[in-house]
């Protein structure tokens, strides 16, 4: 079954950024320069948090605008990036109205969620989680 990461319940998010740190830690970085997930306040902590991550949409606009075919739709949903054919034009990031495509300024290429679930391991409050793509999940990005 194809899986993806989802914001299960943004109201459970305490803004600790553990998910962001976990994502960059996969590549040996402390911080979130290489992270494919972001958490920020919704304009002040009293308004709660926003979790920004690829929602693996159907017919993804980012893949449609990729001029080289480096970003392809994954079978069953979501996208896969072939780093070596990506020319770093940034069209994909522009096309994502969720802002869920981040940028690697060292490589000048997009950073996309790989749906690996590493971040979920560190979300002790269960605000995010891995879900199967056929399952209806609650609003991904509030």
């Amino acid at each position: 079954m194809v899986k993806k990461l989802a914001a299960l319940d943004v109201d459970k998010c305490i803004g600790c950024m553990e998910c962001m740190f976990a994502c960059s830690r996969r590549v040996g970085r402390g911080g979130f320069e290489k992270s494919a997930i972001r958490v920020r306040s919704a304009g002040g902590i009293e308004r709660g948090f926003v979790i920004i991550v690829c929602r693996a949409c159907e017919n993804p606009p980012c893949a449609r605008v990729c001029p080289t075919g480096a970003l392809r739709e994954r079978k069953g949903g979501g996208v896969i990036l072939a780093d070596d054919t990506c020319i770093g034009c940034g069209f994909c990031a522009q096309s994502c109205i969720l802002g869920a495509i981040f940028w690697d300024y060292e490589k000048d290429k997009p950073i996309l969620c790989k749906y690996c679930g590493e971040c979920e391991e560190y979300c002790v409050h269960n605000a995010i989680g891995i879900v199967e793509l056929t399952v209806e999940e609650p609003g991904v990005r509030k």
Partner: protein, 591 residues
């Protein structure tokens, strides 16, 4: 950036509007970071005897080697000369501050000089901007955050450290507010910023720390071990559930808490229930949030829904609460309702003052007013009365507005005000700093008297007192335990780890954590020795600036009200101070 490249110090000169970045591996290699590096920088930058509100007073912010790399290594240390005590000023804050400083590429920042016009600093990684703050001067701390949030970049990965009107008006215990709900609370950093015409510092992260290739596996392993202890054991559980206010009810029950300016050490049962962490959580808690890179979520935010005009005009305000703010506004000022504590906390936060100092000061003023030491003429017409939230709200505003000499004196703290008007016996300050809530026994007061910051977090004397309940002990044991704790805390605040995670970060785990990011050669003995060295460096600064063990003022009130250990005796306390002086090699100061 490399994990070892943690030693960049950003020097900012507000007079010349100039910056310099200097690699200081000499400091970071020997003193780790945080408090250790900050006291060395303070030694270098702060000339003896300067006026804390002059341009020569430096503000130092420092983070540590574990910042942004391990859970709950989430605090920033601020160091400066305190305008409240005229001596060492050190205050710690979480929020997003530590992560932002580290990932902007700095181990420490030194802010010197004074600006001619109001400015704020916008530090986006390597780019440092001096921006005109004229249009936000006079604006309260929360609103400043809202404005800068819109005009500056870095949403989600930045800190906004700012002052309210109290800082601008040089109220000696003005705080700096961070991310709306966190504070560099104690000892007047806000006034130092105000004296420099520095309204805010925005710092946004744009880098990450590269773990050496050969260390990555080890780093992840150590990270996971520490993370597991943080979230799966009871080492930090209490901070998540009820938060710091969870201990209020029990502390009152044992009679270990100052109530109404220490008129007694216990509030009536119904008040204790009303102001307990349990009641706050059940009735008012709306959200728990956390500092960056800490999964605990000890920050408790309450929602207060109030009718503010007829015709169903409601407003809902989010207000942070913790143990000490509830005590300072509630127990010290005789509030009868949790909501009233929140109302006062909200006002104090917006205006930008330290809530502990404010509560202690107003409690002294209330007692002095009742005793006729001060009159309505002094108070500008206010009848200071226990539990009167309206009067206290007005008094807080007057401290900042300073309509007369009395409020100008109140703005200098309770030590100063009581020296001018009398009532020193019940002016509850130690080393010039207003006391925290505890009346648990001799250890908490020795902590207040001898601690480098005169803060309960220096050596957690209140905790020692409670552990010693029902046991026989000598003062040697207490003094040694306090000193040992304070020395060890220098290591935690140099790394910089939140003190709430102190049980997680044992010497062994600290050494593994350092090793796994390529900082090697630390041993338990070396850490212990460094703790002592940093503590003594702070004390050296204090004695240089005129601190004296022999002349420490002890308010008589603390001997008049029983603690859970019974009545305290001044002679015994003086003896303990002497002993402390001997252990730290300051016999000469005792004569």
């Amino acid at each position: 950036m490399k994990a070892q490249a943690r030693n960049r110090v950003l020097y900012i000169d507000l007079t010349k509007k100039d910056i310099e970045i200097v690699e200081r591996e000499d400091l970071f290699d020997d003193y780790l970071g945080g408090s250790g590096v900050a006291i060395k920088l303070l030694d270098e930058e702060c000339e003896p005897g300067i006026d804390p509100l002059s341009a020569s007073n430096p503000i130092i912010f420092a983070v540590g080697p574990l910042t942004a790399l391990y859970p709950s290594a989430s605090k920033t240390v601020a160091m400066f000369k305190s305008p409240l005590t005229g001596n060492l000023g050190e205050s710690h804050c979480g929020g997003r501050s530590a992560m932002a400083i580290k990932l902007a590429g700095y181990g420490a920042m030194v802010i010197k000089g004074s600006s001619d016009l109001p400015v704020y600093l916008a530090i986006h990684g390597d780019a440092v901007h001096f921006r005109d703050a004229s249009s936000i001067w006079g604006v309260e701390a929360q609103t400043v955050g809202r404005i800068l949030r819109e005009v500056e970049e870095g949403a989600g990965v930045r800190t906004i450290i700012r002052i309210g009107r109290a800082g601008e008006k040089l109220v000696r215990y003005a705080c700096a507010v961070c991310e709306t709900y966190r504070h560099f609370g104690r000892l007047g950093l806000g006034a130092v910023m105000g004296s420099k015409k520095l309204k805010a510092v925005v710092i946004s992260a744009d880098k990450s720390v590269e773990i050496p290739e050969e260390k990555r596996r080890e780093y992840k392993k150590v990270y996971d071990e520490i993370h597991d202890v943080v979230v799966k054991t009871d080492a930090m559980e209490k901070y998540h559930d009820l938060g710091t206010s969870g201990k209020i009810y029990d502390l009152n029950k044992i009679g270990g808490m100052a109530y109404k300016n220490l008129e007694s050490s216990r509030a009536p049962e119904e008040i204790a229930r009303e102001l307990s962490g349990e009641n706050f959580a059940e009735k008012l808690l709306s959200k728990r949030v956390s500092c960056s890179h800490c999964p605990i979520g000890c920050v408790h935010l309450a929602s207060l829904r109030e009718l503010y005009a007829p015709g169903y005009y409601f407003k809902t305000t989010t207000i942070p609460y913790d143990n000490e703010p509830i005590w300072a506004t509630g127990f010290m000022l005789g509030m009868k309702q949790a909501e009233d504590c929140l109302r006062l906390i909200d006002i104090v936060d917006k205006i930008g003052m330290d809530v502990i100092s404010t509560g202690v000061l107003l409690a002294w003023a209330t007692e002095a007013y009742a005793k006729g030491v001060i009159t309505k003429e002094h108070t500008d017409g206010l009848e200071l009365t226990w539990g009167d939230v309206q009067v206290y709200s007005e008094a807080i505003n007057k401290i900042v507005q300073m309509p007369n000499e009395f409020y100008q004196n109140l703005a200098q703290g309770v030590e100063h005000a009581s020296r001018v008007y009398g009532g020193q016996d019940y002016a509850l300050a130690f080393g010039g700093n207003e006391m925290p809530e505890y009346h648990t026994g001799i250890a908490c007061y020795l902590n207040n008297l001898t601690g480098a910051r005169h803060s309960h977090l220096d050596s957690a004397g209140y905790d020692i007192d409670q552990k010693l309940m029902g046991k026989d002990f000598g003062i040697e044991e207490v003094v040694e335990a306090l000193l040992k704790e304070e020395e060890w805390r220098q290591i935690l605040s140099s790394l910089v780890i939140c003190f709430f995670a102190r049980k997680v970060y044992t010497p062994d785990r600290i050494i593994s954590a350092l090793n796994a990011i390529g900082i090697e050669n630390w041993t338990a003995e070396r850490l212990e020795e460094l703790g002592r060295v940093i503590h003594r460096a702070k004390m050296d600064f204090k004695f240089r600036e005129g601190f004296s063990l022999a002349t420490l003022r002890i308010p008589r009130r603390i001997f008049e009200v029983p603690t859970p250990h019974g009545f305290l005796k001044e002679a015994e306390m003086r003896k303990a101070i002497e002993l402390y002086g001997r252990i730290i090699g300051r016999e000469v100061e005792l004569r």
